[in-house]
């Protein structure tokens, strides 16, 4: 029996260095994929518990195929048709409007009756009535090297909201530096309007400050707006269940997703009106639409087959892109600048302290595993509390519970500080290595019995 051999052999430290490098350099995107899967799973687990404050302030108006067919129209919609749609919306007096359509090519050239000026005239009416209006903007210099951006007549009667960005993965930035200067995203712009009239946690003073903040790790809600049933048929939408029941269902769906062949599709969280709803002529119906849109922050988007603007929600599957802006705005209204985000990377390094925290948890698992191996090899206890140590390492369960407790504690602390959680799924799975001897023993049991019989 050895007295007190080192916990790890010299070569094991090199192995640890390789593991750390693998975690940081993320070869083949394995670590980041597992991080993303963990974050999405947690969002699904807590989606039915998402607060509804933002839902009461935001609405989406969706131009869909049904609207085009009803009006015998086409896509892109003729400017005359669009001018009718937007003047109807204007009559319902929203608090502010973002239009998630990019007016980059004038498709009425040589046809003044259908000219873009018809639509610009309506947008100008928004300005005159003091209803802020943002149009989707790519942030590129128009016509330089074939780059597309909003046409000049529309720029004059609206404000730009950035809808194209890179370098933030699936997060949602507040503002970005572009060729056209510093531009804020739709959610940030609309949140400023919200804060101008409602009590809120103050937004960044300007676009420069907003651009320096970490992007939002958008959290998606699940329960439909209570008013949704008044304006649309929601019988096909999956009803929300109890928070715990939904969490358990989400857990089993995540584990057995290969066996579950029911495609995940749900109705959107944000209150949604079809563009057709704005056409109603009955005074009672008009009063209902006015009740739903008045003083709301309205985002207009499209859900037209083959237009390609879809965004992936961990809770819903694929939704029209406008819902990403709506949900980011919802997050801002609910939490202000205390939204969920990842910590910034260390200067000139591709990782942050959250990555180090995850590595710390992995190191804890490795140390516990090594101490178990020592105990199994019959080495003497290394601490002063011999009895407790022997008890602790008699079974892997206390070690595993220690890791789980630390993981839970860290997750709660991170959540309280609005930081995205660590890779919970990864840590839980790796912690099972503590049971490896038990598992091997279980499967080798028959062999041992067989040998002793011989």
């Amino acid at each position: 029996m050895l007295s007190k051999p080192p916990l790890f052999k010299y070569r094991r430290y090199w192995l640890a260095v390789i593991i750390v490098l693998l975690a940081i350099l993320d070869p083949f995107g394995l670590a980041s994929s597992s991080d993303k899967a963990s974050a999405q799973w947690l969002n699904r687990m807590f989606a039915s518990h998402y607060p509804s404050l933002g839902q009461q302030r935001v609405a989406v108006v969706l131009i869909d195929d049904a609207y085009l067919m009803r009006n015998n129209s086409s896509w892109p919609m003729p400017y005359g048709e669009q001018s009718k749609l937007f003047k109807r919306l204007l009559a319902y007096k929203p608090q502010a409007v973002f239009v998630d359509l990019l007016y980059s090519h004038d498709h009425s050239l040589g046809d003044p009756a259908r000219g873009s000026q018809l639509l610009a005239n309506v947008f100008e009416r928004y300005q005159r009535q003091g209803i802020p209006l943002w149009l989707a903007n790519t942030g590129l210099m128009r016509a330089e090297a074939g780059q597309a951006n909003t046409l000049a007549p529309f720029m004059q009667v609206s404000q730009p909201a950035l809808v194209v960005w890179e370098g933030v993965d699936d997060k949602y930035p507040l503002a970005m530096k572009t060729q056209a200067g510093l531009l804020e995203t739709p959610a940030m712009s609309l949140y400023r309007v919200f804060c101008a009239t409602q009590h809120c946690k103050p937004p960044p003073v300007d676009a420069q400050t907003a651009a320096q903040r970490q992007p939002i790790a958008v959290q998606w809600g699940l329960k439909l707006a209570p008013e949704q049933a008044r304006i649309a048929d929601i019988r096909h939408c999956a009803p929300a269940r109890h928070f715990l029941l939904d969490g358990v269902a989400q857990f089993f769906q995540a584990v057995f997703w290969k066996l579950d062949d029911s495609a995940q599709a749900r109705c959107p969280y944000t209150l949604t009106l079809s563009a057709s709803d704005l056409e109603v002529s009955d005074p009672d119906d008009q009063a209902l639409v006015a009740e739903l849109l008045r003083d709301r922050l309205v985002l207009v988007g499209a859900n037209i087959a083959s237009t390609g603007d879809l965004v992936e929600s961990p809770v819903h599957g694929q939704l029209p892109g406008v819902y990403l802006h709506a949900m980011a705005l919802d997050n801002l209204i609910n939490t202000g600048m205390d939204y969920d985000h990842e910590p910034a990377n260390f200067p000139h390094l591709p990782f942050n302290w959250l990555d180090l925290l995850e590595l710390g948890l992995l190191a804890l698992i490795a140390v516990l595993k090594a101490l178990h191996a020592r105990r199994l090899a019959g080495h003497r206890p290394w601490s002063r509390w011999r009895r407790q140590e022997i008890w602790f390492f008699t079974s892997p369960c206390p070690s595993w519970l220690l890791v789980m407790s630390m993981l839970a504690g860290v997750s709660v602390l991170l959540s309280l500080n609005d930081i995205t959680p660590v890779n919970v799924l990864g840590i839980v799975l790796l912690s099972l290595v503590l049971f490896s001897e038990r598992i091997e023993a279980f499967f080798d049991r028959d062999r041992r019995v067989h040998r002793s019989a011989i």
């Binding site: 001018s83 009559a91 018809l118 009416r125 599709a265 749900r266 079809s274 879809l310 992936e312």
Partner: protein, 121 residues
Amino acid sequence: MNRSLIVLLAALFTQGAWAETHSIKAFLADPVTVLDEQGKQQRELAKKDAPTQPLPVLQYNQALDLVQVELAGQKVWLDTMDLRIEPPLNVVDLPCQGLTKSQAKDSRNNSTIGFGAGCNQ
């Protein structure tokens, strides 16, 4: 005889003759926006200064959903959304269509929409 019939039918079905049958019963917005024929805002009219008597609709621009009326001896265009017109120009019921449903995560559409009418194709 035939010529008189044609003239009568033409008069009946011209937009102007049709519009005469509609009139503005109430101004809903305050102020009411006065527009030109392209829908560009010209000025605003306070509701208290708007005519209280029913105002006949002279023309209806269906493409832009605007009506032409005579205000203080001047022909102007108004937004139908600011007005209660009787009989209504259009009757559209609340469609109560099914709420948009998300597509499954693995749903793929590998196409791009073609020309719209605006491209004159």
